[in-house]
Subunit: 359 residues, 2 copies
């Protein structure tokens, strides 16, 4: 597989991005990396790090899309940007997967515009790996691309998430859950009730495992492998996990250094505290797939460092090898007739709520 | 003040409810408690506990609304229930505040039906105390009464929350924040953008402190005192706090007892761990006010024990003494003209999404 890497996207580009590519070049076996960015800048960065030149090439792309650029406009007005050039390379078969730490809205919007949607997918979504507190990882979808959803969107998110978890995380028969205010199927707004019904019907047809409604409380303990919700709720779940987690860590550190006995206890436990902290470390999880477009695309955290890039490259290869796009296309076509009643937003996906992306 | 207590609502009714009333009877000074419930049952429970008989009376209400009753139907079909009799007593001036651990939907729906909405309030909401990880408490509103909201609803939630926090928590000039996917005012769905604009305008007029959009990540650290969101998002925030918090506690306990050194450390720290756990203890926070109806109503957690009831009684007295209803009526009337453009749901409040209540 050839990973097309956006050399200019993210807070630490190009330095950490290129450094990560250089590190990955030693360990990717038969695979290759192609970095999109200003050729002289990328080459200069490459020269700073030991790398396997046979594994790394460069696509010249002198323009840069910034974090605060309006996503869709940036994609249209910067045809020579690393993001546009990189996506075009994947579209044209010069690479197998696109990986970027850039502006989320531009990555999703650009993917839809340049790669196109998978037939029968109404809205692409971002699937975020969700580290479970007791080990393992689930996938939350949508993590922020669509702040308002229809039942059919949620249905499709579940299918895409399930296929990704099975193909890329290697988890057989993933359990799909719908985030709601209670577990009874009568819970929630009319939209959520309709979603529950539609998902139940479609997933039975496809042989997928639907655990029904789940409460936010049970997400961290791993009640399911695919957490389905709209992008606003997804954003709240991810950020509450981070916020509560980091606050507790902070408080533990404070409380555990009040008084001599506690300080001795804390000193004895510092290693364990470090393990806890790792759970909230996004660099470990290799980025979030953009699902529903015609080629594999992975969005990394904007603050990605070289380690995150190495993990992102490895995750991207697994994504491309997993043939997720093909499997999604097949499964959604089998249930394409379902839920058409709520189709009043079909076709507006190109808009993709891109202003709402979490930069 | 006279607190009308629903003697039959909640998982531990009547035993823990009456026990809590008995305990509170010794410490409420000039105030009184009146328990609604089957007279013989309540008297029998009372006889089991030392109590100050001068402070406790009983309203005979032989019917019980169960946790799984359909809320609105139950209120209509059980006119002799403790909930209906208790609300009527408050409506008719025989008490100052109603306190219940019963079915949330029935408490909110019954309050709207029997007490009526405050003029210019379109939808009453539940305000939940939100314990901040570093000490203190904020108020989250709406905690689950309205899963879909209009800008005007959110505007009113902020006003009600701010008045409650100032009058009952005694916090001067509370900061109001709107939960969104990012802090820039251009973030979020059109509904949230319109809400931001409306809140900004109205709060300036009322002299309230608006900190603008906040991210879920910053809620636990106390970025504001009044957390405004729709009831679905509110439910997710509360349950994620609980879920992440309890999972981390569980994991700390596990990790800290792996290996001798860590076990010694953990033993030294157990007291501190206990302090952490208290933060998630709903019995400490005295229940959630139902805001926007014509009399003070407080909803306690369904699993409330005697301690929670004692705290609920004390919080209810503060709510009634704070003259929150009067202040809300005055402030909302001053900005009643704003946001009328989104009024397509005005008048449907009586429906109150009651089926979506969290049991």
């Amino acid at each position: 597989m050839k990973v097309i890497l956006d050399g200019m996207g993210g807070d630490n580009a190009p330095f950490e991005i290129v450094k990560g590519a250089a590190e990955a070049s030693h360990i990717i076996g038969d695979h290759e990396i192609c970095i999109a960015g200003d050729e002289s800048v990328i080459e200069e960065e490459l020269s700073k790090h030991l790398h396997n030149r046979l594994k790394i090439s460069v696509i010249h792309a002198p323009e840069v899309i910034e974090g605060d650029d309006s996503p869709i406009r940036a994609v249209r007005r910067k045809p020579d940007s690393s993001l546009v050039k990189g996506l075009e390379a994947v579209r044209d078969g010069k690479g197998d997967v696109f990986l970027s730490a850039g502006n989320s809205g531009a990555v999703v919007g650009g993917s839809v515009m340049l790669l196109g949607r998978i037939p029968n997918i109404d809205r692409p979504a971002i699937g975020s790996p969700y580290p479970l507190l007791e080990g393992g990882v689930a996938m939350l979808i949508d993590a922020g691309a669509n702040s308002e959803c229809k039942p059919r969107n949620l249905l499709q998110f579940g299918i895409m998430g399930s296929i990704y978890v099975e193909s890329v995380f290697g988890k057989q028969g993933p359990r799909i859950g719908l985030v709601n205010m209670g577990t009874e199927k009568s819970k929630g707004s009319p939209m959520l009730k309709a979603s529950h019904e539609l998902m139940d019907e479609a997933y039975k047809k496809l042989g997928l495992k639907f655990v029904g409604n789940i409460e936010a409380r049970d997400v961290p303990v791993g009640i399911c492998d695919v957490i389905v919700c709209d992008g606003f709720v997804g954003n709240v779940i991810l950020k509450m996990t981070e916020g509560v987690g980091l606050s507790i860590m902070h408080m533990i550190r404070e409380k555990f250094t009040e008084g001599l006995v506690a300080t001795i206890g804390a000193a004895l436990l510092m290693g364990k505290l470090g393990e806890l902290k790792n759970m909230f470390d996004y660099t470990e999880y290799g980025g979030a797939p953009v699902l529903g477009v015609m080629k594999p695309v992975v969005k990394m955290h904007g603050s990605s460092n070289a380690k995150a890039v190495v993990n992102g490259i490895s995750r991207s290869i697994a994504f491309a090898e997993g043939r997720v796009v093909e499997t999604v296309a097949k499964q959604v076509s089998e249930v394409a007739g379902l839920g058409k009643g709520d189709a009043d937003d079909a076709g507006d996906t190109d808009r993709a709520d891109t202003k709402e992306q979490d930069g």
